[in-house]
Subunit: 205 residues, 2 copies
DNA sequence: TAAATTAGCGTACAAATGTACGCTCAACTT
DNA sequence: AAGTTGAGCGTACATTTGTACGCTAATTTA
């Protein structure tokens, strides 16, 4: 890659990073202005356009990138689970760790999920869908579930996890422990319930 | 109430209604400007201050008012359920109806739940907490659950319902049917799972 | 080496925003 | 009847925003 393209990529990264860094509990992506991001990245406002058509395009990039990061981290965590122990417990712990080390990635996903732009909502939904279908396949194979039951179960699990994530963002480290425990309990409810429903259906037919 | 106070109340209502009416899938509360709301309500921008300290105060009013509306409607629906039939099914159907007739009340709750103002998040959480504790008490009495199990169960149920609500806002009428069915299935999972977990605990002790 | 490309800059402008200030006049109080 | 209050208005202003336009200088291509 030429010197020129390299420098351009570097600036682009500076923009993305600047935007991520400005996110916080008090600052959502949609409240960031183009000028603020450019300022933080150390370039002139008008130079922004050399990299993105508008703020929307930057945001979508962030959602995609964030979702990818999350999935990679969760996948690594899952490898730990293969060593043995409760899958649910280990997954929840991994999730909390991921959340703690990437709070802003979470913020943008959670916020824009109920956001004002259809494109954003769709993008976030796509990321969540990745999680759901990975999990559904896993459950289908592992617990021998009916496809549609596996799907409903996976969806419920993911929703509960993401919601707990949203709450966790506002909590202190110590309170997160209790939240994680409650979450584990809820996930077990869903898993146990799905199993019971499946058995009932099998007996009936 | 005097003529004067009456007129003031009327204008205040006009402001609240104006704000609610401007909400849509493309427009969140936080994206509304004071001037826009005043314009829609038919008053001068500066007159806004006669009624609210700032937009934040207006928003909190809307959250409180919206939450109240929702609870009242759900309570009416619950009376229908007492006539017999599946509590879950009837509750879900009621919920969908409520959602369809008050989409904007939902939007503000859903969006500000993950919003940028701590006061807003707390207010929404308070509203959701109402639902959870009402449901937890119901379950505790009805199904004879342990308090903490009842709590975890109620929370899971409410979260699943609200999440489905968020998705439903983006769907066409016909697609909502399928979503409702899936939601019912998930709620049954939780209920069945909670029951099973409780039994297991009782046997163990 | 000469020409073409382009990342980044500075200037500029129209639009919109929140809100300070002071006025009016109808409603209320005394 | 006289005096007080306050809801609503218009004017005004500083600030911030997105973005159009044209320039520069370094890199790339020919």
């Amino acid at each position: 890659m030429g010197v020129r393209a390299q420098q351009k990529e570097k600036t682009r990264r500076a923009l993305v990073d600047a935007a991520f860094n400005q996110l916080s509990a008090e600052r959502s992506f949609s409240s960031l202005s183009l000028r603020e991001v450019a300022r933080e990245a150390g370039i002139a406002p008008t130079s922004f356009y050399r990299h993105f058509k508008d703020m929307n395009e930057l945001g979508l990039t962030m959602v995609d990138e964030g979702g990818l990061t999350l999935r990679q981290m969760m996948r690594k965590g899952r490898q730990r689970a293969e060593a043995g122990g409760s899958v649910i417990r280990i997954s929840v712990d991994t999730f909390i760790e991921v959340l703690e080390s990437n709070p802003n990635v979470f913020r943008i996903l959670l916020h824009e999920r109920s956001g004002t732009s259809a494109a954003f909502r769709a993008a976030v939904e796509r990321e969540i869908e990745h999680f759901i279908s990975e999990l559904a396949h896993y459950t289908e194979a592992q617990a021998n579930r009916t496809p549609d039951l596996a799907r409903a179960q996976a969806e419920a699990l993911v929703i509960l996890v993401f919601n707990a994530g949203a709450s966790a963002l506002d909590l202190k480290r110590s309170e997160r422990k209790a939240l994680a425990d409650q979450l584990v309990l809820q996930l077990r409810m869903v898993a146990t319930g799905a199993e019971a429903l499946q058995q009932k259906m099998e007996n009936r037919s």
